[in-house]
């Protein structure tokens, strides 16, 4: 200031007194700079190195780009060239990092000694395994997860050497009914690939294809590409008793009685057949005329007819069914009925792909596993090797798999950390994470993924392939190649179409595999319809609600529970964190006297009574109660253990006889208020927009004939007088940076297309990984102290007919040009940067929290505690982002560290930053590309183009905050008039 004292000098003076005292007693701590011994060629300190790999967290097999810094993996991104995910990555995919760096990972092989574990060396452990296998011979059994690559082939060779037939691949969510139905209908026991991008109309029957069903990222991207704001975009109708994530995205959500999915599908077929709208194999299913279906499902005859006509006439169409939540003892029949729908409209070969199908044909069913259990109990198995599945967590307790395991004299687990199953084993070989090892997989026919070690093992682990290779050799098998990598290369020679193998291999490693899925061929219905169309049998009284067991996006079959991100990032459907919940409808809540989320419920109906925290789910039917799966671990590390309940072990051993799958929908439940209340962490308070127009939609009619929409929803008479010049503009005119060529070039902005967004929360997780956002734990999330910089807000719109429309909005800092947060900061820790970002300078912040109080978007998060990051989880931290400490406010920075990298690269080449060169973590991860980031000063940039879309609006514009995030309204595709 003119003639005055600078603020900084003043603070210096104030500080001097205290510092003088403090300094006299402290000695500077010496830090060491440890260089390399031998300079590696591909690592430059400070510059990331990228490796191609692929995700192994579910059967989809998405391609990955692994970002490493100084030899450590710090971030996963989708591989844009991969045919499955095309650049997106779901929340669980990001979570793999916390599997890699999990603090509860085993450090060395351990051998059980009474109730204790003795450490043994790797060589001794493998020798012991081989010795036990030699002794057991044909009585060796190997149980793996979904393995389709070289490890699987190698285990095959090992088992051949041992002359053992017991080689099982099992997944708790293994889609047995879908595979069996596909076999009956088309003669191939595969899980088809579904091309959502080609469908004009999608019908789903309980399949949550956006979170846990077959290939969620592929489905989401396909759907978004088919919709994406187009007036003639795909329409999606969901038939479901519970609005799961996919159904929450439906244009039309047809609420049906739980378990009546099959009846509805057959009813549609009945209409199509009787009105001659398509060739229905087997003709109109008897007993499923619209009147009967209305009685069975509650779907009005008119609606059923309308939808059947629409499905038959809108081609290409696609119908999908199955998934855990609706898997009753008629699951195969349901999947078959839906296959008939696809066949009737000729979808097989266009939207339903049996040729480029998911390679799950070798997966065993739950019944196969139970058969193995019987052999184990009968002492026919002497050695059991488990690699992957956790049957003691996923199988009903009454199947007595635990007793069966105990009857096996020696059990070996290839586990990274102790879980329910490995706790019971005698020898544990802590195998490497896929990011630390050579591995391969073929998730989809013709799509061969290759995984390479992106870093040295965190602990001295060895890859499963290496271990099996060594053991197999000691047992007399003669796998080709000198080691597992050599063996793998031998396997890959088959994928090569001539030429030099080394060059082929190098290219495959570099790109993450070789992807040549065959083109889909049309397939006609090849079977005979010889099925008893029966509704699922449900235990319990008919007046009780049906109990649905629902998998969640983050937990999947329970494998997500050991990762703090998966616990703390709110569930996309319910916005709950860190616990199991039981969903009841508001009406049922009233009836039971449940006034608040978290009131305890007793749920009887399964073999064991469950005590669960209630979640009042607006939009759920009154005849349904749903319990989330994935929690209730009794082992599996500090983040998973003793948290919530596990409904899977409490189930009755009911099977879908046709496919041998477990029937997850098996009972009606007696729900009672247990008394007592435990807090349930929720990320969002209310679901009512209160007329603020946060999540806006537009109908097709409005899209085609745009009318001037109210700029300020709920305040139609509001007008701004004159032209408002935001504060920052006035300030920068006087500012020394004005005219500075470095700082006035760009104006960063973001566009979020709500017609693409599915609310899957991948962006939230990506932001956690990129920006070192701390995990606060359950006790803090109760107090709404979760730290996510971006969140998905979920709003409900109640129709006059009782329908509930779900609207999801990603909400991050809006980087307002006229930011209310900025001018209340007493220490200028937050200010508007000349490129349009509302910046937060952590070391300047003194934590008054005025800014957070003044932010209308709740975008600012305060560090109420020091981050707790147990070793080696801290290895994942992004070195380009400060780890914030207690007492500091933080918020979205538009990934300033990525802008910096983009600017750096541009300066090196003496050019401007190109559009698309800088991508924020949320935008990069988004499976549907709903988020676009770029420079608003560049008229040709995608964000500038999208901002001009007539669907565009800004949130809470009436507050004159002048946000830099443009939202595009979701398009409501109402029922066609057929």
């Amino acid at each position: 200031m003119s003639g005055g004292l600078k603020r900084r000098d003043f603070l210096k003076l104030v500080g001097v007194g205290g510092a003088g005292l403090a300094l006299s007693s402290c000695k500077k701590e010496t830090e060491k700079l440890i260089p390399f011994v031998q300079q590696p060629e591909d690592i430059i300190p400070g510059i990331p190195t990228y490796y191609a790999s692929s995700c192994r967290d579910c059967a989809a097999g998405c391609g990955l780009v692994v970002k490493t810094r100084e030899g450590r993996v710090i971030k996963l991104d989708g591989n844009a060239d991969h045919p499955v995910n095309r650049g997106g990555l779901c929340a669980r995919g990001h979570g793999a990092l916390q599997d890699l760096y999990n603090p509860d990972r085993l450090r060395t092989p351990v051998k059980k000694n009474g109730s204790a574990w003795d450490k043994i060396s790797w060589d001794d452990a493998i020798a012991l395994l081989a010795q036990k296998a030699k002794a057991a011979g044909a009585r060796t059994a190997v149980l793996t997860g979904h393995e389709t690559g070289s490890v699987d082939a190698l285990i095959g060779e090992w088992m051949k050497a041992l002359a053992s037939p017991h080689h099982l691949r099992y997944e708790a969510f293994g889609f047995e009914p879908l595979r069996e139905a596909t076999r009956i209908a088309f003669g191939k026991a595969v899980v088809p690939s579904y091309h959502f991008d080609k469908a004009k109309l999608v019908f789903s029957f309980g399949a949550d294809f956006l979170q846990d069903w077959t290939s969620p990222v592929k489905a989401a991207r396909g759907m978004a590409d088919a919709r994406g704001g187009k007036s003639d975009g795909q329409r999606y109708v969901a038939f479901d008793a519970r609005p799961n994530l996919a159904a929450s995205n439906a244009d039309e959500h047809v609420s049906i009685k739980p378990g009546s999915d099959m009846a509805v599908a057959l009813g549609l077929l009945h209409v199509i057949a009787s009105e001659n709208l398509g060739s229905v194999p087997g003709g109109a299913p008897a007993g499923f005329d619209p009147a009967s279906v209305e009685a069975l499902s509650g779907v009005k005859q008119d609606s059923l007819k309308r939808l059947a006509r629409e499905f038959a006439k809108t081609r290409p169409g696609l119908a999908v069914a199955g998934g855990v939540a609706t898997q009753g003892d008629n699951a195969t029949a349901l999947c078959l009925a839906v296959h008939l729908l696809n066949a009737a409209v000729g979808a097989v070969g266009t939207t339903v792909d049996l040729d480029g199908a998911m390679r799950m044909e070798n997966l065993a069913s739950a019944r196969d596993l139970v058969e193995l259990g019987k052999k184990m109990a009968a002492k026919e198995i002497e050695l059991l090797v488990v690699y992957g599945p956790n049957p003691l967590y996923t199988l009903p307790r009454s199947l007595a798999f635990q007793a069966a395991m105990q009857a096996v004299p020696f059990k070996v687990s290839f586990a990274r950390q102790l879980d329910e199953t490995s706790e019971l084993c005698d020898l544990i070989l802590p195998v490497s994470h896929p990011l630390e090892s050579w591995d391969d997989a073929e998730p989809v026919a013709g799509v061969r993924n290759l995984m390479q070690p992106a870093m040295r093992p965190v602990f001295g682990s060895r890859s499963a392939g290496e271990v099996v290779f060594a053991a197999a050799k000691q047992n007399g098998a003669t796998p080709r190649g000198a080691d597992f990598l050599g063996y793998m290369q031998e396997q890959w020679k088959g994928a090569q179409s001539g030429g030099d193998f080394d060059a082929f291999w190098e290219k495959a490693v570099q790109s993450g595999g070789v992807w040549n899925p065959p083109a889909a061929q049309p397939h006609g219905f090849a079977g005979t319809v010889n099925v008893k169309w029966a509704a699922p049998k449900l235990q319990g009284s008919d007046s009780d609600p049906v109990l649905m067991l629902v998998p969640t996006a983050h937990m999947y079959d329970g494998r997500g529970a050991n990762k703090p991100w998966m616990q703390e990032v709110p569930d996309p459907v319910t916005k709950t964190m860190w616990h199991t919940w039981a969903e009841i409808s508001p009406t049922m809540a009233k009836k039971l006297g449940v006034t608040e989320d978290g009131d305890l419920l007793d749920i009887e109906g399964l073999e064991e009574k469950l005590n669960v925290r209630a979640y009042i789910h607006d939009g759920l039917r009154d005849d349904v109660v749903a319990i989330s799966l994935g929690q209730g671990h009794t082992s599996y590390g500090r983040y998973a253990k003793d948290r919530g309940v596990n409904a899977m072990t409490a189930m009755r051993p009911v099977m879908d006889e046709a496919s041998g799958a477990l029937a997850f929908m098996q009972a009606r439940a007696k729900v009672t208020r247990a008394g007592g209340h435990k807090k349930l962490s929720l990320a969002q308070g209310g679901s009512d927009q209160l007329g603020r127009g946060i999540a806006q939609t537009v109908t097709i009619d409005e899209l085609l004939h745009p009318k001037p929409a109210p700029k300020y929803p709920g305040n139609d008479d509001f007008e701004v007088e004159g032209t408002y010049v935001p504060n920052y503009k006035k300030e920068y005119e006087k500012h020394p940076l004005s005219g500075n060529p470095m700082m006035t070039k760009h104006r960063w902005g973001m566009a979020i297309d709500l017609d693409r967004c599915t609310g899957c929360s991948a962006c939230v997780t990506a932001c956690y990984t990129e920006n070192n956002i701390q995990i606060v734990g359950e006790n803090e999330t109760w107090k709404r102290r979760d730290m996510g910089w971006i969140r998905i807000e979920k709003y409900l719109e109640h129709g006059a007919d009782g329908s509930v429309e779900v609207r999801m909005v990603p909400m991050a800092c809006q980087q307002c040009d006229n930011a209310p947060c900025e001018y209340v900061c007493p220490v200028y820790a937050t200010y508007h940067n000349p490129e349009g970002i509302s910046a937060q300078i952590y070391n300047r912040c003194i934590g008054t929290r005025y800014c957070a109080n003044n932010c209308p978007y709740r975008a600012r998060k305060f560090n109420y505690q020091e981050p707790v990051i147990p070793e080696p989880l801290n290895w994942q931290l992004n070195p380009d982002v400060t780890v914030r400490s207690k007492g500091v406010m933080e918020k979205c920075s538009f990934c300033i560290q990525r802008i910096r990298v983009g600017r750096d690269a541009a300066k090196d080449e003496g050019r401007d930053i190109k559009d698309g060169e800088v991508v924020t973590a949320c935008a990069q991860s988004c499976p549907t590309q709903a988020i676009v980031f770029g420079d608003q000063n560049d008229p040709g940039s995608r964000v500038s183009q999208i901002a001009k879309d007539p669907r565009g609006y800004k949130v809470l514009e009436i507050l004159n905050t002048q946000p830099n995030i443009h939202y595009l309204k979701r398009v409501r595709r109402e029922a066609a008039k057929v």
Partner: protein
């Protein structure tokens, strides 16, 4: 003098102290041959602050006497934010052949060879330390034509390296302010330039 971004008038204390202290800010630095502002002598680090290193390595011999370019060892200073402490293998490029001319030098070089044969890194004591919340890129500064000595001092004369510049924010900003409108290498004083 000017404060940036918003005028500061709220703190009463400032106005009280203002009169007493006005004009205290020292003139900072002088022009150097690369056109940038150097650190005033009064702010130089003290040579006696140089720590004892595990090997008595002399920049005065390598960079001074033999004129080995800085980038030979600090090979990433123009490629990465991090300048890179050379790997032991880099030392051995020369010291496979050069064993030293004096008994003392021979003894110190033998230590390097010993680290190499044992396959161990040399545990150098860190001299410069930027706080975790600050981003600094060697590359950008080297590419802008800055001499290493501008910040690191007359390194070619130093027997033992010490921290020459304060590395305080005020020190950074002095130079950044002076070059805000530099036609070729404009700087920025936006907080987000360095604060991460």
């Amino acid at each position: 003098m000017k404060t940036y971004f918003l005028p500061l008038t709220a703190l009463a204390a400032v106005t009280i102290l203002a009169a007493a202290l006005s004009g205290c800010s020292p003139a900072r630095g002088s022009e150097t041959k690369d056109g940038l502002i150097t650190v005033p002598a009064s702010e130089h680090g003290n040579p006696s602050s140089a720590p004892v290193q595990p090997v008595d390595y002399r920049h005065s011999i390598h960079a001074g006497q033999y004129k080995i370019p800085c980038l030979y060892c600090h090979s990433y200073a123009d490629k990465s934010p991090v300048a890179n402490v050379p790997a032991v293998s880099t030392c051995m490029n020369c010291h496979r052949i050069i064993a030293g001319s004096t008994p003392y030098n021979q003894q110190e070089i033998a230590k390097v060879v010993d680290y190499w044969t044992k396959g161990q890194p040399i545990p150098w004591v860190s001299i410069h330390r930027l706080p975790d919340h600050a981003y600094f890129s060697h590359k950008r500064h080297v590419k802008a034509g800055m001499q290493c000595q501008t910040c690191h001092g007359p390194i070619q004369n130093m027997d033992h390296v010490y921290q020459y510049s304060s590395l305080k924010m005020g020190w950074c900003v002095t130079c950044h302010k002076a070059n805000l409108h530099n036609a070729q290498f404009a700087t920025s004083i936006d907080c987000y330039t360095c604060h991460k």
